[in-house]
């Protein structure tokens, strides 16, 4: 049994917003795989909760009229991984969320919850950062859209206003068109684990597949919030696909990330791993995009 002061079950998005206004102290409960665990640990004991778990309207993946890929915030990880649209246009996201915890956690955990708890190790976040996702929030003043890089403010803090809930995550066409990516989750065991460092790279190659038209690389746990290595991206954009450039790109990420020293992993290890992962994820992205690395 959980130490919950009160539970309000929303029937619709508007109902949820109303409940949040009526109970300004209440916190949002989606899949609960983070919130319920923190309640049991005592960090959130005695909270009021507005449960939005029953809002089927926030589930599912579709392509909207602006050809954005629209992922309902309550879509579970397992459903994202199996979704044909995701598999077709942004399969790396499906792969990334398929590394969260275990199958049961992926059945309950939602991509909205994963992004809203503002934790840098969230497996979906580094990929969403690397694909310039847009976070859609609905509140008393209506719908608001925020680029994910602005959505994350600082560790565990995201740009959600009072009585707002995250309703969708959008990937613009310009972001996913002709784009291929790969995610590596570095953790101490191969399941039921939190990323020590997560690295998501994607590339759009020139038509002749010889040069990088656009490269993006996002990291989890390389900074207090999920981040991008812009300097490294700037260096590689437009460059020819060859070993030298790939290696230089991988080393340049160090200028954008500042992993910390902790008992979970030392700074030196995190730096080293971040460079190795950048290279490997980039090479795999090139392969997926049909490019060949000439020595």
């Amino acid at each position: 049994m959980y130490d919950i002061k009160a539970l309000y079950e929303a029937e619709s998005v508007q109902d949820a917003i109303r409940l949040l206004q009526e109970h300004p102290e209440a916190q949002i409960l989606a899949g609960g795989s983070d919130v319920l665990v923190q309640i049991r640990e005592g960090r959130r004991a005695g909270v009021e909760l507005v449960s939005i778990y029953m809002l089927d309207e926030l589930r599912g993946v579709s392509i909207d009229e602006e050809e954005n890929i629209r992922i309902g915030s309550l879509t579970s990880f397992s459903h994202i991984t199996k979704d044909p649209i995701i598999q077709k246009y942004i399969n790396v996201l499906g792969e990334a969320v398929d590394m969260v915890g275990g199958p049961q956690i992926r059945a309950i955990g939602t991509i909205g919850g994963n992004t809203c708890n503002g934790v840098t190790s969230a497996d979906s976040a580094s990929t969403l950062m690397a694909w310039d996702a847009i976070i859609e929030l609905t509140g008393p003043e209506g719908v608001r859209r925020v680029p994910i890089k602005d959505f994350y403010i600082k560790a565990k803090v995201v740009d959600i206003r009072p009585a707002e809930i995250q309703t969708a995550i959008l990937i613009p066409k310009e972001s996913y068109d002709r784009c291929f990516g790969h995610y590596i989750k570095y953790s101490m065991r191969n399941a039921l684990d939190i990323a020590t460092t997560g690295c998501s790279v994607n590339v759009r190659l020139s038509d002749d597949k010889k040069t990088f038209e656009r490269v993006r690389i996002g990291y989890g746990v390389a900074a207090p919030i999920p981040c991008r290595a812009y300097t490294a991206e700037a260096f590689l954009n437009g460059k020819e696909i060859n070993d030298e450039n790939i290696k230089k790109f991988a080393e340049t990420v160090l200028e954008d990330i500042n992993p910390r020293d902790s008992w979970r992993a030392g700074k030196a290890l995190r730096q080293h791993i971040s460079v190795v992962m950048a290279e490997r994820a980039l090479r795999e992205s090139i392969r997926l995009a049909g490019g060949v690395v000439n020595e």
Partner: protein, 779 residues
């Protein structure tokens, strides 16, 4: 004659109920109305509890009572180790524990308890209570060697320099032996880490008053010992308690200690015998139950040119945590094994068991031997490399020879076990081809294969009492129930015993019913299961008792068949006249007649105790093949094979299950498991199943268990210990395989990415060009 049941893959007698989900563990039997106990733990690593203000916490609705260490009027210090009691005081375990103490010695020590109507009220009150404790904090020490230094904080007055015990062994003269010319000296420090049992069923017990006594239902390996210790802890007659052990969800040694049964019984008594349940949450299981001893070794060997040992020394520092629990037994076992595994004429060895302000270390599968095997086998590999010998050949040359006899324990190596196991394992995994294939590799991804062995014995004779009692009762249809002192905790002891009885009485095994749930009021006395003693020790009393019962059966058969007993036998459930093989009556008819005859009706039962005065070596080895991704500091275990000589295998499926479980524990011990503390505050850092890296399904390759069955002459059914041996050789085998692949031989566990990164960097396998340019120091 070939056995009908011994050695056969008889299905576990409780498998059906477990597959249906109707098996009852402790929590499943406890009434929903039980009050919930949550223990208040110390949040300082060393200190004195000045006061606990319970007023605020008592206001929480649903709280029934709050107890604190100040409610303990008479302090009854008690031992917690699951050792058989000794009537000789010098052999008794150290009694240094209290159910609640005002003198916490580690972060997580027990200083109070909340009793509430439900778990929410209990945890609410607990959180308030945690903030209303006034401590006088004292300096603390976490490392064993640091704790021995002058000026280190003293945990127990009677043990200066925190040394619980210090023992030595000396053979020949090392001083003289090392003067021999042409010797090569090999030296090494080896560090093993604290790990936890992580049985999936947390410790749980509940207690209630009945018939002027207190009944304690608990998930334990040692019900009779629990009853004794509750009596000692509460200063009451032992008979005032009845301990019941239902099915257990894994123990691995943690439940071979008395954990919270005394506190739970005491609270029930304070509340007039009300039903109270103490269910330990996973986070507290990690730090407030028992863990494995972290042991640091320093081993030196002087090798002759032919690769034999001239002299050897060993020092071992064993971190025991805040209380004695099993005391010096773990360290002593390791030291005792050192001169036996690689015999040498000149040996100096000493070992210390040291108190530190850390969670209490107790028994865990292997009881000191996984730690010792890691040090011994890493060192053996280092010696082989120093002498440029093939590691396997080096071992074959130096290991305990056939016929070796150990005077103290009277153990004898009757068969060429080591070579047989090496040959079998090498053949299964294809060792020799792969050694060739993986010679001097380069590149980021490299493979390696290696082998390691270990020393292990069975049960605890002569160090402590070894006794086993059994009772068999025959029903009117000739079927039997039997009860044992050895407890079923998942290893299959019940099924093995059933096979033995079916074999001895020659009746179908499905007519042999174990009474698995043990109850100290009913079950014959027994000290439970530990030290891989299960099948070996119960074999003695089971066979003896079965023979006694058979005698009574044949005596009865004489009455009804008029044939002399020496011409009668019990075969396949029938009374048979041996002279012509004629079947005279079925066992069912016999049992029915004997029970209901109006001329000498008798209930057919037998009960006996057997005191075991022998031990048995149980050796084997592990072959590990790994692939190391050097840049990513990751190890992938490609293949692993354990070969064990546990004498005659009673049940191949159960036996291989034990080997798989031991290998799994060994893999985690080698690659990922480690309990960590914050050096500054003494607070545990990763006491939960997310941050403590227990191996998942995806961290294991296929596990291969193989057996070499040398019938053990001293054993009732030729069996030897098998519960713990499989956990011993895996970690060193993986370490040596990583060494073979990368040339980097690491003397520390676990071989996690952190360790590999540091060692590969030091060895130059990892040298990031950017790190030198940007001058970032790498540590």
């Amino acid at each position: 004659m070939s056995n009908k049941y011994i050695g056969k893959a008889v299905t576990r007698h409780d498998a059906h109920d477990k597959a249906m989900g109707r098996i009852k563990y402790t929590d499943d039997m406890c009434d929903k109305g039980a009050l919930v106990i949550r223990v208040l733990h110390s949040t300082v690593a060393n200190g004195i509890v000045k006061s606990i203000d319970t007023s605020e916490a008592e206001k929480v609705p649903g709280v029934v009572r709050i107890f604190t260490c100040f409610d303990i009027k008479e302090k009854h210090y008690y031992p917690t180790a699951g050792h058989p009691w000794s009537t000789d005081p010098s052999h008794q375990d150290i009694a240094d524990r209290l159910i609640m103490t005002d003198r916490p010695l580690f972060y997580g020590d027990d200083i109070g308890a909340v009793v509430a109507e439900d778990e929410v009220a209990a945890s609410q009150a607990l959180r308030i209570l945690e903030k209303s404790v006034e401590y006088e904090e004292l300096p603390f020490v976490l490392d064993a060697q640091e704790a021995m230094k002058e000026g280190a904080p003293q945990l127990h007055e009677k043990y200066p320099n925190n040394v619980l015990a210090h023992t030595e062994i000396h053979m020949g003269s090392v001083e003289e032996a090392i003067k021999e010319p042409g010797l090569t000296k090999v030296e090494g420090w080896y560090e093993t880490q604290p790990v936890q049992h992580c049985h999936i069923e947390n410790f749980i017990c509940y207690a209630y008053g009945e018939g002027g006594r207190t009944v304690v239902v608990t998930s334990t390996q040692i019900p009779h010992i629990v009853r004794r210790v509750i009596g000692q802890a509460l200063g009451m007659d032992w008979g005032k308690f009845r301990v019941i052990k239902p099915y257990v969800g894994g123990g691995f040694g943690n439940k071979q200690d008395v954990l919270y049964e005394p506190l739970c019984a005491w609270i029930s008594i304070q509340l007039g015998g009300r039903l109270v349940k103490l269910d330990v949450p996973r986070e507290e299981t990690f730090i407030s139950n028992r863990i494995r001893h972290a042991i640091r070794y320093h081993i030196t060997s002087w090798m002759r040119p032919d690769g034999s040992f001239a002299a050897r020394t060993i020092k071992a520092w064993c971190n025991n945590g805040a209380y004695s629990s099993h005391g010096h037994a773990i360290a002593a076992k390791g030291l005792n094994a050192f001169p036996q595994l690689y015999p040498c004429d000149n040996i100096d060895g000493e070992t210390w068991t040291v108190y530190t302000n850390r969670s209490v270390a107790g028994a865990m599968r292997g009881y000191g031997m996984p730690q010792a095997s890691y040090a011994f086998e890493c060192h053996a590999e280092d010696c082989a490399r120093a002498m440029k010998m093939d590691p396997l050949e080096f071992r074959r040359k130096n290991l305990m020879p056939v016929g070796y006899y150990h005077a103290f324990s009277k153990n004898e190596l009757y068969s060429d076990t080591f070579n047989q196991c090496f040959d079998k394992g090498a053949e299964i995994i294809g060792y020799y081809d792969k050694v060739e294939k993986y010679k001097n590799q380069t590149g980021d991804i490299r493979r390696g294969i290696a082998v390691s062995t270990f020393w292990y014995n069975t049960a605890v004779y002569p160090i402590a009492l070894e006794t086993s009692s059994c009772r068999i009762v025959m029903n009117q249809d000739g079927s039997v129930q039997f009860q044992l002192g050895e407890t079923e905790i998942g290893q299959g002891a019940d099924t093995a015993a059933a096979q033995m009885i079916a074999e001895e009485l020659s009746i179908p095994v499905d007519m042999v019913h174990p009474v698995s749930c043990q109850d100290t009021d009913i079950t014959p006395f027994g000290t439970g299961v530990y030290a891989s003693r299960g099948t070996y020790t119960l074999g003695f009393s089971v066979r003896q008792t079965a023979l006694l019962l058979k005698e009574k059966v044949l005596e009865a058969a004489h009455q009804f068949t008029r044939m002399p007993v020496y011409n009668l036998d019990l075969v396949d459930g029938k009374i048979v006249r041996t002279t012509d093989g004629r079947e005279l009556m079925t066992i069912g008819e016999l049992a029915l007649s004997k029970l209901y005859t109006t001329d000498g009706s008798q209930h057919l039962t037998a009960e006996s105790t057997y005191q075991i005065k022998s031990n048995a070596y149980s050796f084997g080895c592990c072959f590990a093949e790994v692939e190391v991704d050097i840049p990513m500091c990751r190890v992938r275990l490609l293949n692993i094979v354990n070969v064990h000589d546990c004498g005659q295998v009673i049940n191949p499926i159960l036996a291989s299950g034990q080997v798989h479980g031991g290998m799994s524990m060994g893999i985690g011990y080698a690659l990922s498991e480690k309990l960590m503390w914050d050096e500054k505050t003494g607070r545990p850092l990763n006491n939960n199943l997310l941050d403590y890296k227990l191996s998942s399904f995806m961290d294991h390759p296929r596990l291969n268990a193989a057996f070499v069955e040398n019938y053990e002459p001293t054993s009732a059914y030729g069996t030897k210990g098998l519960g713990e041996p499989p956990a011993c050789p895996v970690a060193p085998a993986i370490r040596n395989a990583i060494g073979a692949a990368t040339g980097v031989y690491i003397n520390e566990l676990p071989l996690s990415p952190h360790t590999l990164f540091r060692e590969f960097t030091d060895a130059g396998l990892i040298n990031d060009p950017w790190r030198n340019e940007q001058g970032k120091e790498s540590k």
